[in-house]
Symmetry: C2
Subunit: 436 residues, 2 copies
């Protein structure tokens, strides 16, 4: 009798610059000068597709860098254009972009995403964020970032408008009757939306995309963020330092979704996961130590200042981290701040040690070891109900995703936990999501 099928793991490549480690671009031979070269991104996507990953996932921000331009590289190419190029360099892998509901006009956003979904034959996804900094606001006609509650109310309305627009010009309305009409106007569904943040009549001037709607990702950790995710998300990019916090987060979001009448199994919770992979644990530790050693301390301190909303310039590196205000009083991104508090509470690190913890991926789960060790940890989280899969955040790129695809993926496949071939052709099919 065959063993019951074990739950498959979802895996995205979260592709950022030349890796998520703050010093990745300083390593000899890094791809840092190729960030404006689309073939670099095509190579990343092709490696991820060779590994049969669900999607390539791009973050986005609306200013040159939150903590000063002298940091490592953040943005270079705009992500929707990148993903459109990737659509033509790959065949199956999903293409997820980040879009800020605080700064995007919903008609433009719905249209670009629908177009990407057509061009990629149903592989588009959208990760809706509410943005974080005043610098971004000042690039878009605002004096400062709107308050947290207001941003989440806008995000809610933004998603309502996006869904309405994607439904507004059904494919079936296209008759293309040589003796009659091209479109049957009676089948169009204008929105006539007049809300607090947006006024959009519709219909969209792109027909309903192949997936019905691009797959909707979300990443909120605050109360309104969790509610938004519970109401709308089909995938969640979560922040969790350890299995316990991931489990608590996933349990909470699933309960909120169920309370709203949604099937929680149709939400893939995918925490960020930083992996250092090698044939021996010692080799991997050396790799990690080498990266850490390249990190200029003052830059890391500035990044930490942003994460915790404090002036860190006077902190003693080898003293314990000074006391920080409780989570409720913090007005920036809650998930990462909660992680910092959790690391401090559980590990009682010095400032220098805390910087090390945060150097790659800013407090996301980190696994270091052989391919088997990494696969074990992935299975442990999924089997414990702490994750449906992971948003992979390799410390270096393309090396880190090559290591994962060539070494960890085969182990997961061998154990029956990951696909050997794509069964479907759309991102919805990869993630087991129904067409709306």
């Amino acid at each position: 009798m065959p063993a019951p099928a074990r739950r498959h793991v979802r895996l995205n490549l979260f592709a950022h610059a030349v890796g998520h480690h703050g010093a990745a671009w300083r390593a000899p031979g890094s791809a840092v000068l190729r960030l404006g070269d689309i073939t670099y991104w095509e190579e990343l996507a092709q490696i991820a597709e060779r590994g049969r990953l669900d999607a390539i996932f791009l973050a986005d921000g609306q200013s040159i860098a939150p903590a000063g331009a002298e940091r490592g590289p953040t943005w270079f190419l705009e992500p929707i254009t990148v993903l459109t190029a990737l659509a033509r360099a790959t065949e199956r892998i999903g293409l997820v972009t980040t879009v800020s509901s605080t700064f995007w006009d919903p008609f433009h956003a719905a249209r670009l995403l629908a177009s990407l979904d057509h061009i990629s034959h149903g592989r588009a996804g959208i990760n809706v964020v509410t943005s974080m900094t005043d610098a971004e606001a000042r690039n878009h006609g605002m004096a400062a970032l709107p308050a947290h509650e207001e941003r989440y109310a806008t995000a809610e309305e933004f998603l309502r408008v996006l869904h309405g627009l994607w439904d507004s010009w059904p494919r079936e309305s296209i008759r293309a009757d040589p003796g009659g009409v091209y479109v049957d106007p009676s089948m169009l569904r204008p929105l006539e939306h007049h809300g607090d943040s947006f006024a959009v009549d519709g219909p969209l001037n792109v027909p309903t995309p192949p997936q019905g709607r691009p797959v909707l990702f979300q990443a909120g950790a605050s109360e309104p963020g969790r509610d938004l995710a519970a109401r709308w998300a089909e995938g969640i990019y979560a922040v969790a330092w350890d299995l316990e916090s991931a489990h608590a987060y996933r349990t909470d979001v699933r309960a909120r979704a169920a309370a709203l009448g949604r099937d929680p199994d149709l939400i893939a919770v995918m925490p960020g996961l930083v992996t250092y992979v090698g044939s021996t644990e010692e080799e991997v530790r050396r790799l990690q130590a080498d990266l850490h050693s390249r990190l200029p301390v003052e830059h890391s301190l500035r990044q930490l200042a942003f994460f915790v909303g404090q002036d860190t310039s006077g902190w003693e590196l080898d003293a314990p981290v000074p006391p920080l205000p409780p989570l409720e009083e913090f007005t920036g991104p809650k998930g990462r701040y909660a992680t910092v508090l959790r690391i401090i509470r559980t590990a009682r690190p010095t400032v220098r040690e805390l910087l090390g913890f945060l150097a790659a991926g800013g407090g996301h789960a980190t696994v270091i070891g052989t391919p088997e060790t990494v696969a074990d940890e992935i299975e442990r989280w999924v089997d414990a109900g702490a994750a449906d899969g992971f948003n992979l955040m390799p410390p270096t790129l393309p090396g880190g995703i090559e290591d994962f695809v060539d070494q960890v993926v085969p182990v997961l496949q061998e154990r029956g936990r990951f696909r050997r071939e794509y069964a479907g052709s759309t991102l919805r099919e990869h993630l087991g999501l129904p067409r709306p």
Copy 2:
């Protein structure tokens, strides 16, 4: 002694739906069901590149159709995503998209265009328009289209911001010094722009694109439109029914540019040109008559209503066109209205005859005949100083551009009027424009 080199002609393919003729989509075998299929657009671009054309040019609009969804196809895929895909399916041809300064946030627009310029290695162009309809305004949070003067004031400010953003993060500032900084912040040039329409601090989060700035096209025919073109345009998509009006327009815009201290030879004036090509003139007339016969009269009347700002539903088809208000009183797009007035004054057509004139390209110059006839007419306009080249508007696609590339281009090449190979690799180089 070799003859002096004769002026080279500039040629763009203005690719719209399945052709510019209102009945193109009704013809048997039309590509109308492939508009959402990116390979259709890739084929068009590859045909145009085979013909060594300067650029493929896409229009844009922000609502499903200005005159009702039962018209032929207008929009399907969004043009920036289309051109990004085309960047990877072609190697040399320029990629020009239309962007509305009335409805786009300049930071997003500058960023998307800069990214396209990087991805295409310097082939991006932007055609800035101020848009035309209330339906478009109502998709972007406005109750109605702003007044003409206001839209042009906004366009002026939009272009200032775009240029500032493209200059704001110079490539030379990227040091990528493993022991130091990634970017030298002292080389960044924030805008701190605070104008009537936009507030943008900058810098852009995409480095200066390969061309310095994407090539700027414009299409204004009104007084403020001509001033805007004279001040900013490097290419102009003009509307001219005949050589005389084209000559008057080009002369006027060149004079305005010279008065502003610009070199008029660095502005390529490219009127729209509808071509019907075949081996005999009789064959071509048959093709044209066949297309005209497929045109449903009531739809054409509605389109005419939009062009002239009048209710045309009661107009008698076989009576002369009723008197129309003078150009000064018309508040819609001036260029096309001026053409309608000119056709009426010179040809005194019935309503049905006027519809025929307007069926393909809405009053743009139309040439019908053998490849030699079409090449003659192109040379005649260029030699008379009425045009620097043309924005080709084939009545049907892909057939119409295939005919042009395979039949007319070789004649122009034979006569030394068109390139046989691309000499440069950027759109600026194709058009003989300096890097700013």
